[in-house]
Symmetry: D2
Subunit: 280 residues, 4 copies
């Protein structure tokens, strides 16, 4: 028996679930998890199904392909064991990177991490401790284009499913944003849409907000405007300095990013235009 994860995205139509479950029945599937949502504005149907089946991947696909074609949808299907391959990028701050590596070793994050790239050589140490290949790719105005080329080449060569910017503080070119659309996740250290751009904790401190937050979102060419995957906040007060906010914010950042990575790794996120459906 193999456990499969199936995601579906298509225009809503009567009988959709019946057709899908009919196809699954053909391959002797036992559904263990299922969640669905129909967007009332666009009438797009989104579904995530986890099922056990004695069928091979090819057999399962053969059963589902006719449904997919008939409904004009985007189906993804994979054995749960075929783990998502994730490339992590990090800069100076290491808390998000450490958190992901710890959860990975711990079994919380069901992913493979073929590579960590950082513009800071010191991050090599952490990568090595956790046994993950590391590449130092410095970024200067002159080398930026070359650095991005390296990134895209690694994504291609290593069969990367998605990229995680674990407090990677470089703005990516629109070429990279487009090439990795829906496959690159950033953590921004504010509760978006508040405090976009640089130094959000300084902005938050200046504005005197009573909660600070973090936002995990897909990267798009519009800075800090990509579809939001997850957010959370923590309470602060007048006595908290910018440094206190940085400290408190770190905990929110790593929690929010690790949830987003887990959702993405388990095919729980479906991108609908500028918003996400998250079957958490």
């Amino acid at each position: 028996m193999t456990t499969y994860i199936l995601t579906i995205q298509c225009p809503d139509a009567p009988g959709l679930v019946n057709r899908v479950t009919g196809a699954l029945l053909e391959v002797g599937a036992n559904i263990t998890e299922a969640a669905q949502f129909t967007d009332p504005d666009t009438r797009i149907f989104a579904q995530r199904i986890v099922f056990d089946s004695p069928a091979s991947l090819a057999e399962a696909r053969a059963a589902l392909d006719p449904v997919s074609e008939a409904v004009g949808g985007t189906f993804t299907l994979r054995p749960r064991d075929a783990r998502r391959r994730v490339l992590i990028m990090a800069s100076r701050e290491e808390h998000c990177l450490l958190d992901l590596l710890f959860r990975h070793r711990n079994g919380e994050l069901d992913i493979d991490i073929p590579l960590i790239i950082s513009n800071h050589e010191e991050r090599a140490d952490l990568a090595h401790r956790y046994g993950i290949p590391f590449e130092h790719v410095p970024v200067t105005p002159e080398t930026k284009t070359a650095a991005e080329k390296i990134l895209l080449e690694r994504v291609e060569r290593l069969g990367i499913d998605f990229v995680v910017l674990a407090r990677y503080m470089q703005i990516l070119s629109s070429e990279v944003c487009h090439a990795l659309e829906g496959r690159i996740i950033n953590i921004h250290h504010s509760f978006l849409p508040g405090f976009k751009g640089a130094r959000p904790y300084h902005q938050a401190h200046a504005r005197g907000v009573k909660l600070i937050g973090a936002t995990a979102h897909y990267v798009t060419t519009d800075l800090d405007e990509g579809p939001i995957i997850e957010q959370d906040v923590v309470r602060v007060d007048h006595a908290d300095s910018v440094e206190d906010m940085v400290r408190l914010g770190r905990d929110v950042e790593r929690l929010v990013l690790s949830r987003a990575v887990r959702y993405q790794a388990e095919d729980r996120v479906i991108l609908l235009g500028s918003k996400t459906v998250v079957f958490s």
Copy 2:
């Protein structure tokens, strides 16, 4: 077109969802919401489906009954417009009662409230303001049995679907608990299983906890041990007196109870043994 709410509870079996959706297809149903869960311990399958259909209730039932029989399950089906009929019981504290009445008038709680019963005559005023029939049923050791008889008679005569104890501070006999099993919800002013029984805020203050909470649960003969529907908490500190906790707790109590009532009113709660599945 009628909007229906269907709930299903049965032993898990392959093809279950396909059979159900097949039956729905027969009556031209368009599924707008669906959530399901299979309990790994008991292998019980629970599902909640909202669908639109041109079929009458009788026609929809006729399509679903064979499935229900075949799988040996408990199915409930009703038009969403056939709102749940709720009897509310209240005592001295009125915040939970007021909250439910306000949400009801507001359109947040899709229920009918044919009657409010209280052992405190002063609650009549609030009931009248919101145009709800009110009955004063005093409870003393001598009249307790008679009072419970009145409750059960009203439930029967008014076709009550479920009873809400909105801070009704009387312990019900095991007869009433059994008669209304799975149909009577209480709000307890602690984060159960901590601080069962009387004066939970005093207990919490004495213990020095840093959060206090409230729990909405089904009433069973085991005091404060019934299946939990919803819980929440709020932060307190050393400077909070018992009175502060009572004040802070009120907000949690009314939030938690109103959520539980909404879940129950929308058929979102499925009772599995001593636990609940809540399709929130």
Copy 3:
């Protein structure tokens, strides 16, 4: 014995607390609560002290005045029993108004409410239920100036300490904002600085945020930019419609506003430039 609330705001200086407590000692004061904060940027010292004393208000003032003059500060002193007088303004949505009135009757809000003003005549009903004088002041482009004149006249005549906009959906002129600076609190139904202006829940829904919030702030001429007193949030997901957000948001709005009103009523808020110190 009288219980007094003292607040202090002045440039920080060595010996400040010693001088203040020395003056209090002169009037036989027993301090029951004290909180203080020195803003590291401006070196402004802020303090709130609650004390019991056999002295009269005049005697207590006589003891404190020399300190106040010496340090060049702003001191406020009042017996706790001299409750703050609050004018509430409301529009169509009544949840915040109801919440304040319920808490007031309940003893949670230690204030007097000499008047409720609304541009909606239907709010009279709620005011009368809670025994509060009500005035219907319609607002149209033509009557707006006259309406504001009425407001300021009432504030003056009734000795109002501060005004609460309990979802009063009218933008006030800069004259009113200036006249009531630091004495007028608004609840905005978003987590500011996100989603300023009109229809914040529609904005939140369009952006696909995963938490929505509410913000209580002082009103200034800069719309939704005034100093923040309190904020809170609640989780939403892709399945929540604008209407769901409105429903969930109501609970946050009333919690946040009632906390802000309580802080203000108990002299817990000290305005430092564009930010607040809240001794919660």
Copy 4:
């Protein structure tokens, strides 16, 4: 200039703060933080003051000692730079240990860690990565007494201020509990007083609670009954298995423990009988 942290615990009396601030004035102190609380039940006064002064520790003590004696109180005074010395004990689970070590290196925890003791040799690796001395002290029924003797000897010899049980899953003897009273902090993986003892997540799963939590508390001879320092919770639902709860709980455990350690390290916790005052 030296920054000092002063804590005071004594019977409440008029003029107390004036006397303390008078003594501080003598040594040219500038108070930068101050928080106080009088327990209404016991009339015990607790205060924490941070001040800058050109005086030496001996001079500052000389100024404060007469006050301390006069009021019959317990005063602690130390330069903030004289960091608390903390011994950490860990077992199989490493998330709490890693979290403390990361925060320590990060500058979030202003402590020295002269030693980590574990009954699991594998923990040596983590200790070494962070450059902390490690000692493997196996615990079996036969060696338990000897192991505890080692602990107490190390506490003595290394001048340990307090001990942290970072998911150290051994029950300590009453001798150790008494010897380290008020100086040994445990993290229990439930929201106490719910689910004391073994396997709290299993208990929580069986009871069907909707939130799980963690509690940091002082260790006493009464298992899981010691004074609570900090607690927090996270939402779970019917679909969360025991394993999911363990995963979600880890985040709460490490947050709660790290906050408690920071409070203790910064002299923010004052033990009043079976409860704590936490000047957070």
